[in-house]
Symmetry: C2
Subunit: 84 residues, 2 copies
Amino acid sequence: MKTSSEAHDSEGPFRVYTPATLGAAIRHYREEAGLSQAELAERAGLNRTYLSDLETGRETEQVKRILRVLKQLGVRMTLEKADW
Amino acid sequence: MKTSSEAHDSEGPFRVYTPATLGAAIRHYREEAGLSQAELAERAGLNRTYLSDLETGRETEQVKRILRVLKQLGVRMTLEKADW
DNA sequence: TATGGATGTCCGGATATCCAGACAACGACG
DNA sequence: CGTCGTTGTCTGGATATCCGGACATCCATA
């Protein structure tokens, strides 16, 4: 399968509807990058507990508010690898 | 210019790097939808003051944290019309 | 078995956020 | 000019959030 390049399963762009889908996408890309929560938290300058909550979708009101606005406007949020 | 379809200036997808770019995108789509801040706030179930702050990029830590995570992972966030 | 890395989850408190309500400035339009 | 609609901004105060630190669990693997 895919004779060309490497083993880039890439898993396509992620559509974000909810805190849970946001978390899932972040987790996917973190694992793809081979980082632990602790490492990523360190690099992004935040707490590992927060990151864990974020990935499991426990993230809350803030994000929901913004997603609600986007939904009302019929706008979709997409996350994808910025493959430079 | 653009002989083809209508007056769909559409303005392409928005890349979100910062609270300010997020706000600009939201404002763009709100105006495109012909809604006032008050109307959109009402529909999304939130305060107009908050929406104003959001659009002017005064939105803060929460969003910045998440954008920091995405940056570390080399992931980009895009907003675009879900043209159904 | 035991040791270590990774993750989920609980607690408590400092801190940031969001809301309501109000006001000023601006433009359009009668 | 006067009025209305829209938006930016301020002030409190109630509330949600994030953090550090700790503990249990699960999975490798020595």
